[in-house]
């Protein structure tokens, strides 16, 4: 076959994949991933992943939302077209709090969702792994590790042997 995308190993339980990931991490592979039907607790550490930076962006988005909401209301109510409503001051910051709060939440939530999709490079409707028949069970009840061919330490035979040694139920080479 052509150059493979990577080696795909199938495991039967969360416990198995947890220990397998630790070994893959310790074997110094860099371009690899685990695929599980649900997030397995502690797998971040087992894979040696750094913490996500998403919260910082969401915080910035939230502060932007506060500024945007308050500024918008201030400009519209106290600067551009001032209308006297119930003798309240033009810049009724107390009354502006509800909308400011909602705009803050909207900006933060949008950043959380679209930021997460962006970091994950989704949508990505076409991917080599999605062509594998066995891989369909990744969203059902099986756990997979895929070591990409692009990894410096990848070797079609040795990597497959290594994965078999981790107790995989099956190992296959996935086409590009």
């Amino acid at each position: 076959m052509n150059r493979p995308y990577g080696a795909l190993a199938e495991f039967k339980s969360a416990a198995e994949i947890f220990h397998a990931c630790e070994k893959v991490r310790d074997a110094q592979y860099r371009r690899w991933d685990a695929h599980t039907p649900f997030p397995v607790h502690g797998l971040d550490r087992a894979m040696g992943l750094p913490r996500s930076k998403l919260p910082i962006f969401v915080c910035i988005a939230g502060l932007t939302g506060v500024a945007a909401g308050m500024t918008m209301q201030w400009w519209m109510s106290a600067v551009d077209y001032r209308v006297i409503i119930a003798a309240k001051p033009f810049f009724s910051w107390q009354a502006f709090i509800p909308v400011t709060f909602e705009v803050m939440i909207l900006f933060s939530a949008a950043c959380a969702v679209f930021g997460m999709l962006f970091i994950n490079r989704l949508p990505q409707w076409h991917h080599s792994l999605l062509k594998s028949e066995r891989f369909r069970r990744a969203s059902d009840d099986r756990f997979f590790i895929c070591i990409e061919a692009q990894d410096a330490k990848f070797d079609p035979e040795q990597t497959v042997q290594f994965l078999k040694g981790l107790g995989a139920a099956s190992v296959e080479l996935v086409e590009e």
Partner: protein, 466 residues
Amino acid sequence: MVAQAHPEPLDRRVPLVDPPATIQQITESVAAPMEWKAPLGWWLFLAGSLSCLGIWLGSVGYLFWTGTGVWGVNNPVGWGFDIVNFVWWVGIGHAGTLISAVLFLFRQKWRTSINRFSEAMTLFAVVCALSFPTIHIGRAWLLYWVMPIPNQMAVWPNFRSPLLWDVFAVSVYGSVSALFWFVGLIPDLATMRDRATKKWQQLFYGVLALGWRSSHRHWQHYEVAYLLLAGLATPLVLSVHSVVSFDFAVSQIPGWHTTIFPPYFVAGAIFSGFGMVMTLMIIARSIFKLEHLVTRHHIENMAKVTLLTGSLVGYAYAMEFFVAWYSGNPYERFTFINRMFGPYWWAYWSMIFCNVVVPQALWFQSVRRNLGVLFVISILVNVGMWFERYVIVLTLARDTLPSSWGSYSPTIFDFSTYLGTFGIFFTFFTLFVRFLPMVAIAEVKAVLPEANPHHDDGHHAAHGGH
């Protein structure tokens, strides 16, 4: 209080999937209602919902053609069924967000079987709710004036009005709930995509699943986003019904202007929302054979939350009544006497019966585990909450100046519009249960004992249910 007939073990948690199931069986159970041939009942229910939707379209069409005079609103009761139904539907929606977001923050794992279903309920309820502000303004084609965009009148929206805060609050609530719901759906859509046999299914689920490939590098950021959304949705849901309560509480009307309205409305919303979730879930779990995922334990927990929030509502009633007396303000005192003994006394006592008396049955475990009784109670809770908003709005009939007193009679179009919104709700719902997974498959799997990688290290006591 009756002693527990089914004492739970204290050093471990009640299993959330009962009888136990494998990970694969969870997938099968939840996928089944989408894969079997649609039973006749589903078609009949869809037909019924569409008929109600037709009634809505007819009522709203006539309303737009003729004007809001077809409703019963008048002077002094300028708000009638429109605002009562708006608040009622928004309130129902809040339970979904509570289950998704607040119970998530409190690590209540039992939420995983019911959160998808109740979030869907939230979205559909919010759509129904938003229909009322849209249609009640008289010239619905000018609705865009509520948005802060330049218009031909060269006037900006009035940001000092609670009705405008509602626009922002409920819109943001609908958007964020939709985002939260969709994010939760992505992994399950991938599951459906991977099982799909027919072309339209592969396309439908495939596109919506965004190419999700269950990668743990993706799960990591996904979980963070989920936690952030839960953390944002929690103050959001508190703020939305608080803003709705501001519609009344910022006024100067006795019985409306009282500081406890924000948290009281939020508690009432959760109360009615849980009632609706129970009403729908008790039926759905049986029809769709999901009793092992939505167990009696889940239903009992929902009943307990209903009792708790109903008690909070009762506390608020007591505080309002006490402080109305304590204030010495004759108008405040009159308002409450009038609610009890005035021309609409029957609405008030229906509210007290449904919201205060009926939920007391939930103190008894035998009641909490009896699905038939719970079903009836859950409906009465929603009836009671409808009457609560009705009683509040009817205060307009008897406010401070006796020469302004009036009365309110809903017309047939008030009723038909309200009935029609059930058509919107149930049409969406019927489609939802057929085409989307109604239980959060990945989340339920994640709370199984075997989902814990250290399950075999003997950590039975530390994990599991609840």
